[in-house]
Symmetry: C2
Subunit: 363 residues, 2 copies
């Protein structure tokens, strides 16, 4: 990245490998080899080539390169929506890794629209990506066929088909949810509700089932469940439903953080104090979770880890023999992170010194 572009500014002619070859008085083959650091090329010559390259500010044309090499060094990344707070961290991590490994990333969002999914897939194929990470929850099966057909390596989270050439990241929901449930139980909560995500989402069902299992494990009723939508609105509605119950829950576990945030927002409107009157636990640990007031106790499903795993999975597929090998699966764990949206259940709180006061003094 020499500053030499000024000197060559008059130059308007094509700046390609041939021009470099001409000026360095070597063949294009040598230029190519020098640039790609093939060790057999004479250091003397290489230096001469690099000098010209720097002087002219030459950058190889990646398109021509991929054309002949048959590899584009592009990974596709399909998400639902960028504005979904679950994704920014993932995109950032993915890009960090891309830069590190000399890959580009082709970003695409489905915005839950079948037409957009189709165009996403088409774009991936047209640009000849070397692999696609599909991080949207729910994808038309038929479209995947198009990618599989072309032997494009794929990686899914949770929902991928169990076939060769497709890697899957399996999320262990149970682990984090058990921690959450037991944390609430330890705070003397017995009526613990769950706000579920949309029922057509595998990942939402998996979370709900984990909740049920973990409640049953410790002898609590797993039936206080209302359905949300993984958005704020669903959380707000959920709170309203829950407060209409004959016996209100004292704690709520939400299927994702946005739900919890909506629920807390509605609680604020109705003067229900979190955590004094109601303990709230989220799921995902999006960035926002620690910005909210009070900071949200939530089950972390590390987005960095997820992105890293996905990227590595693609990289593995690329280097390894693309022919039939075992369907690979990776595991992603979840863990509770404690913040300040949970407290002792209201009925017992009076017995001990105010948790909130304790905390405040601790600061």
């Amino acid at each position: 990245m020499a500053a030499a572009c000024r000197t060559a500014f008059v130059e308007t002619n094509p700046m390609d490998i041939r021009e470099i070859a001409r000026r360095a008085k070597v063949s294009t083959a040598t230029v190519s080899r020098a640039i790609n650091r093939v060790p057999t090329v004479d250091p003397q010559l290489a230096k001469r080539v690099w000098k010209v390259v720097d002087e002219l500010g030459y950058y190889p044309n990646t398109q021509a390169r991929s054309l002949v090499m048959g590899r584009s060094r592009i990974f596709g990344l399909i998400v639902s929506e960028f504005t979904n707070p679950f994704f920014p961290e993932i995109v950032q991590t993915f890009e960090d890794l891309a830069v590190e490994n000399n890959y580009e990333i082709l970003l695409s969002s489905t915005v839950h629209d079948p037409k957009r999914m189709e165009s996403s897939v088409r774009r991936m194929i047209e640009r000849r990506v070397d692999g696609v990470a599909i991080l949207t929850f729910g994808m038309e099966e038929a479209l995947l066929e198009h990618l599989r057909y072309r032997k494009v390596p794929l990686v899914f989270v949770d929902v991928g088909p169990n076939v060769p050439g497709v890697a899957n990241i399996r999320v262990n929901y149970q682990n984090g949810i058990r921690q959450a449930v037991q944390h609430l139980a330890a705070l003397r909560h017995t009526r613990i509700a769950f706000v579920c995500g949309p029922l057509h989402l595998k990942s939402a069902l998996a979370r709900r089932d984990a909740f049920k299992a973990c409640m049953t494990e410790i002898g609590l009723s797993p039936d206080l469940i209302v359905v949300g939508d993984h958005h704020m609105e669903g959380g707000m509605r959920a709170l309203n439903q829950l407060t209409q119950q004959s016996e209100r829950p004292t704690a709520v576990l939400c299927s994702n953080d946005m739900t919890a945030i909506g629920l807390m927002r509605e609680a604020y409107e109705r003067d229900i104090k979190v955590p004094e009157d109601l303990s709230v636990v989220g799921f995902d640990d999006i960035r926002l979770a620690e910005f909210i007031i009070p900071p949200l106790t939530t089950v972390q499903m590390s987005q960095r880890e997820l992105a890293r795993t996905a990227f590595q999975a693609l990289l593995n597929e690329v280097v390894s023999d693309p022919a039939a090998h075992d369907p690979r699966t990776y595991e992603l764990n979840t863990n509770l992170v404690l913040r300040r949206s949970t407290a002792l259940a209201a009925m017992t709180r009076q017995l001990v010194s105010s948790k909130r006061e304790q905390r405040r003094r601790a600061l």
Copy 2:
């Protein structure tokens, strides 16, 4: 996007334009023309070509196409960090437009690291993008030279050099900030503070200057200014500094929303009630602003609008004669959006019925 890939699944041979030509019994030229909907091609033939294309699930290789056409149909988008809540909306809108216009977007973040900026620029050049939107606030001048040198159309927000071939989006900070200041003044605030952004950012300075001007306009002291960093931490520190003042401000205007959110977080810790004890106004109107408790009154600088303008600007550069034309500039307005983080100044509030009560009843 026919489902025909199953039938051809056995087929492992190259699926290129020649294969299509062979099967449709025409030349590659005709295939190319048919696919690109050149009107002179016989409809009969075109239909035959399309049939084969659909049957085989053929997608043209974009790399080969760009190579010969000299246009990649890729726009670069350089941002500071994806995790910065200012950007998701922008990225989403940019991608929506890209899909609409058959462009790809090459996403790159600088994470405020000169090395990354350099690699961003290199990647843009190597992939031969047709234009770059630089939405990071602050960019090494020398690197831009590399892009300008190659006549890559550029669009900046605010900080771009005023030269041909570079479009600029000028933000009218004054408008929104005046509305904010006057809104606070109307609520009887007289001691209004400003939390500035990092002093090396042009956009931060512009906001500060607008604040000063607007305060002076209405005869208030414009000197209650502390320096933040456009992050939560800066906002938290700022509140601490402000409360140490002999005479505390009753309202604070922040240089961006994250600052305001940090400040409100600190206020929560110190039991300073927003808006009862302190009115807070943000800047940007990131998505988060309306999720926070209380929802943040802020100056909106529409991210969708910004993205749309940037994209359109690039499109304009591409279609218009790339030779020297006037440096184009676009304008982006700002406007106050009222939410619930502002209220009558404390000393006067007792005189009227509680604003908060009024609001609550209104729900």
